[in-house]
């Protein structure tokens, strides 16, 4: 049984919008982080869906790349979060505004 590609794309879009909203709305840095991951994985899902629909391997290769980069990004991002938490005892991003012009 084959799920039609439109469904998968719709799911991907929903997931992406959820991620966007999460980034825009939430103030907890970890949640924002997870929302970013959600958007990345929404994009991955879209890649997989099209790769499968068109029977092309390059979409799957992209996904691997994205997963690898996301892993690296998580490592850096979590280190930043730990460091911010140590200095401010909070991970509320609204309180981290020292780059204000």
């Amino acid at each position: 049984m084959t799920v039609p590609v439109e469904y998968v794309i719709a799911l991907s879009g929903v997931l992406f919008v959820l991620g966007v909203l999460g980034v825009l709305v939430r103030r907890n840095a970890i949640v924002m982080f997870m929302s970013v991951e959600l958007m990345l994985n929404a994009a991955n899902l879209a890649f997989i869906a099209f790769a499968r629909a068109r029977l092309a391997l390059s979409g799957q290769v992209f996904v691997f790349f994205v997963i690898a980069v996301a892993a690296a990004e998580v490592a850096v991002g979590l280190a930043l979060l730990v460091s911010i938490f140590r200095s401010r005892h909070s991970i509320d991003v609204d309180q981290v505004s020292s780059l204000k012009g």
Partner: protein, 677 residues
């Protein structure tokens, strides 16, 4: 040795003095005082021997030769080589110059040794002989040069030596700069004459296309009457040159001042040799002067007037050398008058005899001066000593017998008493003047009488009576080195008439080898009697005026009155030139310096126009342009960025969410653009 070989040895007359000059210059003090003088003297002596050789060569080959030594100037049609013109005229000059120079060099060995010690600077002895050698070299170039230009090289060379030697004691003289001023005066006045010579040279090249004598003369003779205008212009310009170098009216003023030089210099340069260059030059250009009767007449008149003028001033001078200087001017006037009348033989004859007896007179005068200076320290008197003032002399006959003999013979020869040298040569000039130019004859006769008068005056004032000062009383005869040349010159002054004895004319025939137009003047008893009579009259008057009561410094002159003052003040010629030329020139210079240079150029053009204009322009550029425009542009850019940044900084909120929104909005816009395109 044949004539051609002998002629080829002619350059030695320059080589020998040049060697002496170089060794004195380079080896310098190591040679020692005495050797320096002997070296220079020996060099001139050898040059004299070479000249004698040339004389004998001319006996074999009367036409002489032109000896081309080296190429010098070769531009288009202007060809001037270094070449010797050896003919009877130049060899006569060579013999006279080197002969008299040798005697004066020997005299100078003794004289300058005493002089440099008296003046307190023995190291200058060597320099004196370096200048002397340079002078002999220049004079040789002058007389043997075969073109106007080579003659001019020598002409300027002797002028330079004259300047150097007049100012030999440059730190001495009135006011400490008197001698230097005298040298400068000689130099400047001679430059005026040189301008005439230069113009003559340019004209000669313009009209005849060459500067070499032979070619110019050939061309001029070939053109005949067509060349008269050009010849007149050239010869008038040459006359200006001759008045400068030979101290004629109106450019004679430098010669009396030139007596500031040491006495051997006065004898050699300013009596015997250099000042006769003008006469030689006119004789050399006889072809041109014969074509231009107007110029010849002018030359004769200038000479005769100068003869009278110089003699009249000589009458009223007290300085023993100054009298001789004006006498030289006067005698040069005789020669110039002679060559102006076309009596080249008489002129050259007088030139030679004058060299003998005037050198003799000068050397005797130097001997007198040194004798007085020798007497001075002995006397221990505090009086200020002017060793040249004849009023402080007197009675030197018994104290300096050799000098007296020399002076007497020289003086009698100068006065024209037979049978001394001066009588024959002056008589030839007078005879020529009698035949061709009565005005000149009159002027020269009066000049002759005056000549005898001032000569007698000198003889009596210096040698007769009693000494009128301590120095004169203590005066001693000089060492033999100075006496021997006196005796030699005295002998030449006694017998010099033989070189062109009436009826035989050895010099005349010799000169005719090179001066075709020269004529021989026969002896005229009437003229001779008249001139002798006038000479005796002059001497007698001098004896009457100065013999009875000797003159002292305080006493006024026994003769003359107002006229005497005019003569003593030299007819106020120096004052006249001072008023007419020197002071206007100084005023003009002051105006040029103060008004034109100072106020106009410096104050106005430089300070006002340039400096202020520059500083104003620079000020405007700095304040108006640089500050406003360039700095303004920079500042405005800065302000712009600053203001923009002030606005833009509001965007940088520091809230991640805002960045994310703008990120998102941007993404939406980009995607929207891509979709709707």
């Amino acid at each position: 040795m044949d004539a051609a070989t002998a002629f080829r040895m002619a350059p030695l007359v320059i080589v020998f003095p040049l060697l002496a000059l170089l060794s004195n210059l380079v080896l310098g003090q190591r040679l020692g005082l005495r050797l320096a003088g002997w070296l220079a003297s020996a060099a001139v002596g050898f040059a004299f021997l070479v000249s004698v050789l040339q004389f004998f060569a001319l006996q074999v080959q009367p036409g002489g030769t032109t000896l081309e030594l080296a190429e010098w100037i070769s531009i288009g049609s202007l060809q001037v080589p270094w070449a010797f013109k050896l003919d009877s005229l130049s060899v006569t000059m060579m013999l006279m110059v080197t002969g008299v120079s040798t005697l004066i060099h020997i005299y100078a060995i003794g004289y300058m040794r005493a002089d440099v010690r008296f003046q307190g600077d023995p190291s200058r002895y060597r320099r004196f002989f370096v200048y002397f050698s340079l002078f002999v070299i220049s004079m040789m170039v002058l007389v043997v040069g075969d073109s106007f230009l080579t003659l001019f090289v020598g002409w300027e060379g002797v002028g330079l030596c004259s300047y150097l030697l007049i100012g030999f004691w440059y730190e001495k003289g009135p006011g400490g700069i008197g001698n230097a001023m005298a040298g400068r005066k000689a130099f400047v006045v001679n430059r005026i004459g040189d301008l005439g010579f230069l113009i003559a040279m340019f004209l000669a090249f313009w009209h005849f296309g060459s500067l070499r004598f032979e070619q110019v003369f050939l061309k001029a003779e070939a053109m005949g009457p067509a060349a008269v205008g050009a010849a007149t212009a050239i010869t008038l310009a040459l006359l200006v040159g001759a008045t400068g170098k030979s101290a004629q009216l109106p450019l004679f003023v430098w010669l009396p001042d030139a007596m500031a030089g040491p006495t051997p210099v006065s004898a050699l340069i300013h009596a015997a040799t250099m000042v006769t260059a003008g006469i030689y030059m006119i004789a050399r250009n006889a072809v041109l002067f014969d074509l231009a009767p107007i110029s010849s007449g002018a030359v004769a008149l200038v000479g005769a007037l100068t003869a009278l003028f110089g003699a009249s001033i000589a009458v009223a001078q007290f300085d023993i050398k100054r009298v001789l200087a004006y006498s030289t001017i006067s005698q040069l006037g005789f020669m110039i008058a002679a060559v102006g009348m076309g009596a080249y033989v008489a002129g050259m004859f007088h030139l030679v005899t004058h060299a003998f007896f005037k050198a003799l007179l000068f050397l005797s005068a130097g001997s007198v001066i040194q004798g007085i200076e020798n007497g001075h320290p002995v006397s221990h008197s505090q009086e200020h000593l002017d060793p040249n003032d004849m009023r402080t002399m007197g009675g030197l006959r018994s104290r300096m017998p050799v000098t007296f003999a020399g002076y007497l013979i020289g003086g009698l020869a100068l006065s024209g008493i037979p049978p001394l040298a001066g009588f024959f040569s002056k008589d030839e000039i007078l005879t020529d003047a009698w035949q061709t130019h009565p005005v000149v004859f009159g002027l020269l006769s009066v000049a002759g009488a005056l000549t005898a008068f001032y000569t007698g005056r000198q003889l009596w004032m210096v040698f007769a009576g009693r000494p009128r000062s301590e120095s004169a009383a203590q005066a001693r005869e000089n060492p033999p080195l100075m006496r021997v040349p006196l005796l030699a010159l005295a002998a030449l002054s006694l017998g010099g008439g033989l070189i062109n004895f009436p009826g035989l004319h050895p010099l005349g025939t010799f000169l005719q080898w090179s001066l075709e137009h020269a004529h021989l003047t026969e002896f005229d008893p009437a003229v001779a009697g008249l001139s002798t009579g006038l000479a005796l009259l002059g001497l007698g008057t001098a004896a009457w005026a100065y013999g009875r009561r000797p003159l002292t410094v305080e006493q006024p002159e026994p003769v003359g009155g107002g006229l005497w003052i005019a003569l003593h003040r030299k007819w106020w010629v120096d004052e006249l030139y001072d008023r007419l030329i020197v002071r206007p020139f100084i005023t003009l210079s002051a105006i040029l310096a103060e008004r034109i240079d100072g106020r106009f150029l410096h104050d106005w053009v430089h300070d006002t126009l340039l400096a202020r204009g520059f500083s104003r322009t620079a000020g405007w550029l700095a304040l108006g342009f640089d500050l406003r425009v360039i700095d303004g542009a920079g500042n405005a850019l800065g302000q712009l960025i600053r203001r923009a940044a002030l606005r833009l900084r509001a965007l940088q909120t520091g809230y991640v969410r805002n960045y994310a929104i703008s990120f998102f909005v941007g993404l939406v816009l980009m995607v929207g653009y891509l979709l709707l395109r």
